[in-house]
Symmetry: C2
Subunit: 218 residues, 2 copies
DNA sequence: AATTTTTTTTAGCTTTGCCTAAATTTTAAA
DNA sequence: TTTAAAATTTAGGCAAAGCTAAAAAAAATT
């Protein structure tokens, strides 16, 4: 059971798209992987014969249990490396992703389990995404968008769904990061901006910003 | 300037063979890389057009300055990862090599420099081999084979040129490792075995064992 | 229901890195 | 020095993973 970088990338992308969009098409995959639809079809046939997904021409495809297992394992590796790069090597939040994209394909089981141990079995990567454990189980955080958080309900920022430098700069200025406690004081229907309280400081944030923040009640 | 895994492996192998054997031939390279002479020739042509080495058919080849630079950079990555795997993740000495063989091809400069810093700019990997610095400079240890160490001259074990589990077990039993002080008391011409003193204990070691041990006088 | 548009697939080609078998060149031996 | 052996290279192919252009199927419009 050893898969090529390309195969792993396809499986991972299908898994993510499934979660994000509910459905996965040839074109969506091509777009996500920066390739052509014809190439996607080629790979679908290959993964089908390897029984990593179910595929009927023109009817779409979906991961088999085995395919899902592999996808989760790739995601585990990716997120552990992100955690390592960010927390141990002090590489900036926003630069970590492309490096992890390469490291995730190094496939020694022992390496990953030892790394996990070394990092203290972290539950979440630096972007707040949950890290699957060595059995492929991923903690189910019932995270919700900040926009959906009820008024006056304290919560904790657990994901930032966009890592542009501009956004990070703004968050930094506001002292908002993963784990920051936050509470929505008021909403303004006019522009969907909202007043929030962070560390006993109140200020207003725009809808654009809020839409990228996810929180966890607790 | 981005090179494929295969290109990097060829450059690295040529560099090592050059050092170990003084000369590099098509067959030696094929053997070292577990491939066929014809494949080696193909790659030599390719690296030649990329000006990473000089190549005349039937006349052999040698690294260009640029090729050497790349080889040293690959070696730097390999050895830093070995150090990390061994010292931080506690992965056994003998298992570290094949994992580093994969990690060495992840090419982010920032990653490697940050890793170097995180590890405290180590000068040597767990096998005692020197790690090139970020400019490609490698400390020149004038290490010599234990077999060449003069009698009664105290020295320090600085490399074990073979990592089979059997060998490691033997070394462990003898309390010999990198940095162990050792002295040759007597040599027996019959079988080239030798009596050595380690930590005020004297015992005999075989030629087979000695041939893998390198020491540094000091 | 017929036609147009969009999506997906097929067919055929390219590059990389490897292979085998045959040819060539160099080296060693008789 | 002629011949035999060994090393190296060439020629021709193969699999992976991508591509373009054309064909086929499904979905959307009229």
């Amino acid at each position: 059971m050893n898969y090529t970088t390309s195969e792993e990338n396809y499986l991972k992308a299908i898994f993510h798209l499934q979660l994000e969009e509910g459905t996965v098409t040839t074109n969506m995959l091509a777009e996500r992987l920066q390739t052509r639809p014809a190439s996607v079809t080629d790979m679908m046939k290959k993964l089908n014969t390897k029984k990593l997904l179910h595929y009927k021409p023109y009817y779409g495809f979906s991961l088999s249990p085995e395919g899902k297992k592999i996808a989760l394992y790739v995601i585990r590796r990716h997120r552990l490396w992100e955690y390592f790069l960010s927390k141990k090597l002090n590489i900036g939040w926003s630069e970590v992703h492309p490096i992890a994209e390469e490291l995730e394909h190094v496939s020694s089981r022992k390496l990953i389990d030892k790394l996990d141990e070394y990092l203290g079995f972290p539950g979440f990567d630096p972007h707040g995404d949950p890290i699957p454990d060595s059995k492929g189980k991923m903690r189910d955080v019932s995270k919700i968008p900040l926009e959906a958080l009820p008024l006056h309900q304290p919560a904790e920022v657990c994901q930032v769904a966009n890592q542009s430098p501009e956004l990070l700069e703004l968050l930094h200025h506001r002292h908002i990061g993963i784990g920051t406690r936050i509470e929505v004081k008021k909403r303004f229907g006019f522009d969907n901006s909202m007043e929030v309280k962070v560390k006993s400081q109140s200020f207003t944030i725009s809808q654009q910003l809020a839409s990228y923040l996810y929180v966890k009640k607790n």
